[in-house]
Symmetry: C2
Subunit: 251 residues, 2 copies
């Protein structure tokens, strides 16, 4: 599993991803799932991935290679709009998944016994191209995608449920980047505490709107002082919040 959140704010976009990958509980590794590119002054782009690691890495490598390839190769650096970038990434993702499928092979089986394509992956991409406003997209394994808008200002990938209630309650479009990071840390902490397959370290990438340069890029590991403070502090704050609610009385 995985947990990634891309969050659109008035001030720009914030991306956070965990780094745990596992093939069974005894085969756990850390791999980066957040990748960024920039053409300073012209465009910024961040991609986060969930799902089959071979598929995700392959898609990222193809995107990366196409950037350095000749003028004839379509690439996320040449796409004229964020919509076209999303289309290109979606197509690359779909092609990679179908190229991996072995004809006649049985589908994979998830931990809970349900079946799923072994090569499935989803992505969140976001960024900005000069003369456009920032865009944030959720890309499905089929290659199609949806864009974040006012009513759905953030996307989650992977193990999304544990960390969602706090996002829904505390998100506001005018959050500062500092408050957005705090909110994401709380959401990731709740998820990590509840699901073994989501784990530290966490990667953070900020896109400040209209700068057309990548903003802060940070990694939080287990020893990170701020993460530890929030993780401990949130448990205490929740207990206080709970105590502050009026008590129930049996009728």
């Amino acid at each position: 599993m995985t947990y990634c959140v891309g969050m659109k704010l008035d001030r720009g976009i914030v991306f956070m991803a965990d780094t745990r990958t596992n093939a069974g509980v005894d085969n756990v590794s850390a791999f980066r799932k957040l990748f960024s590119w920039e053409v300073p002054g012209e465009r910024t782009l961040t991609v986060m991935t969930a799902g089959n690691l071979a598929t995700s890495q392959s898609v990222v490598s193809i995107l990366d290679e196409s950037i350095r390839a000749g003028a004839d190769t379509p690439s996320v650096f040449k796409a004229p709009s964020m919509f076209r970038v999303a289309q290109l990434v979606g197509r690359t993702l779909r092609d990679t998944i179908s190229a991996s499928a072995v004809p006649g092979a049985a589908p994979g089986v998830k931990d809970d016994g349900d079946s799923v394509s072994r090569f499935q992956a989803s992505m969140i991409i976001g960024g900005q191209i000069r003369e456009e406003s920032p865009g944030l997209f959720m890309i499905y394994p089929e290659g199609n995608f949806v864009e974040a808008a006012e009513d759905t200002p953030f996307f989650q990938l992977g193990e999304t449920k544990y960390g969602k209630p706090i996002l829904s309650r505390a998100y506001k479009p005018d959050l500062s980047f500092e408050d957005a990071v705090k909110l994401l840390i709380v959401s990731f902490d709740s998820t990590i505490k509840s699901n073994l397959s989501v784990g530290m370290p966490l990667d953070l990438q900020i896109h400040v709107a209209d700068t057309l340069r990548l903003g802060h890029s940070l990694r939080f590991d287990e020893r990170n002082e701020y993460f530890r403070t929030i993780s401990r502090g949130w448990s205490d704050a929740i207990e206080l919040a709970f105590d502050s609610l009026p008590d129930f009385e049996f009728p």
Copy 2:
């Protein structure tokens, strides 16, 4: 979907269940999922169900019928221990599921495309029999079961993830029944806010340890003043809790 929680406390057991059932988003009804029986002074029993409604109702009817049947029919009123009660309920559940299966029929398909037996159901049962301490069990569709103990003092059925972080953080074995109800209301409110397939009204059943009589039995609907206070108050309390955490600063 469904959301049910059975929670073991030092003082007894608390059960809460929603009442929404749906077969598609345009076929939504309210059905009771929490059922209780008692032999005053001798035993108390509460069952909560999740999964196929025909299976659940059938199991409950069979249990109910066997109670009123002659002395030769095994029933939850005659089982000599909570372990035997769990075994009987598990066997009834398994038999009901396999009796419904049509030979050669394709399995059902969940909303997310995964396959599952159309007739699957799970249950939480709990109660107390004279000369035993209270027992709480989670019963699987296969008929086997696990018992709640110190390390796992509560069981959830159905849409469990949204409401779990608050349970994990605020549960303590020495909670009063009033605080346990408050905690469950918060957990159910988070789940109802996040998932359409879990809905009001909510049924509550209390078992006070060693009384061997059913305790308070209540139903909370949308107009319930306490539920509304908590639902509104929790959003505000969470925002305050969030604000109380130290702010992040970029290095």
